[in-house]
Symmetry: C2
DNA sequence: TGGCTGTTGTGATTTGAATCATAATCAGCA
DNA sequence: TGCTGATTATGATTCAAATCACAACAGCCA
């Protein structure tokens, strides 16, 4: 989101993490603004029974973990490297100073928060409807619109059924069965197990 | 959120609506920043089957309908006057100009977005867990922390079971039974039907 | 005071997603 | 090419929330 040169000029540092490593944990206090350079970060919570709920799969170029920067509370979820990752980290006070000096950049981040919130609005509404079809379609529609987690030059969804299950609170089997139904109804295409929409 | 005098000086106008009237509808384009002076506004969507999902019950002093201001998309939900309401409205360009000139105020709104998003994080996680007890407790905990929809000088929850049902995607009967269980477990108090926590 | 409306409360039944079990495919790789 | 682990697929069963039906109660006001 922020130009790499600007971040580096302000003293941001690169950090590498291997797949599976935690970048930060739910409940811990934030010190940095994080921007992913390459790899994929899984942003998730675990409930009492140990089931993982994935809020977002962050890809190269995106920032993550912004909530504590703006509301001063601890992290709301865990960030785990889903693949080997490279990221840039900038101390929060420096980042906030940057936003103060560049109102357009601040508006960029307000836009980001608003977009994330809008998605949560739609998804929470669908989760509340207890209708697997509409939950899955809402998720896919969102991903497609944001060109997230899709093949860069086609319409193939880059997520496993398990990941979709973990993003909607459903079970793999339910996701598999529901997506087959959606395929039969023509609302998405499945070829050799790969999903296109 | 914004000082009333400042809003008026910038040309904001008062608007009154009667209980039940729509202030704006899902999908329509936004022109104003809205700030509630008195009354209560219901922020909700209807799903295909006509069931209402309430995202928020806005009370005096709060702003609402900020998403389109920041991401430029249409309204994500309906705003209906839950009681007779008085609100202040300011044209969006003027409002954004104000934020540009006052970075601290802009940070206030970033904080608001972050808080709303944090709540959605928690709630969507709970909705995904398909556990009525934790969904209801998460909602009540949030309301208590924000001192929202509670009696001003006690701990009585100012919501009906139906409203709680509409905010969690559950059914009234499930909410009633689950809250009785929570009462029996000592996790909240019910006296003459009124809920304290 | 009684009647009306909205809310809370409770039982019986249904339903669909979770769960359990197990098979079929696919992708990566030696 | 064949092996291996991850992913997709499918059938049978269970279980909890939705649904349906109706009773009890509280608050309001004519």
């Amino acid at each position: 989101m922020v130009d790499t040169d600007i971040l580096l000029a302000l003293g941001a540092a690169y950090k590498q993490v291997q797949a599976g490593e935690y970048i930060f944990r739910e409940g811990s206090v934030a010190s940095f603004y994080h921007q992913l350079v390459s790899g994929r970060v899984r942003w998730s919570n675990f409930d009492e029974s140990g089931k993982e709920f994935i809020h977002n799969l962050i890809e190269g170029g995106e920032s993550f973990g912004e909530l504590p920067i703006f509301d001063g509370e601890p992290y709301a979820a865990n960030a785990v490297a889903d693949e080997d990752c490279v990221m840039l980290r900038l101390h929060i006070p420096v980042f906030k100073q940057l936003l103060t000096e560049q109102p357009e950049l601040h508006f960029e981040f307000s836009r980001l928060l608003a977009q994330r919130l809008r998605f949560k609005f739609v998804l929470s509404k669908e989760l509340g409807s207890h209708n697997p079809e509409s939950s899955i379609l809402a998720l896919l529609k969102h991903l497609k619109a944001r060109r997230k987690n899709v093949c860069s030059d086609c319409t193939r969804i880059n997520l496993t059924r398990q990941q979709i299950a973990n993003m909607t609170g459903l079970r793999v089997e339910t996701v598999i069965r529901t997506m087959r139904n959606l395929h039969d109804k023509g609302k998405l295409q499945i070829e050799k197990g790969k999903v296109y929409c």
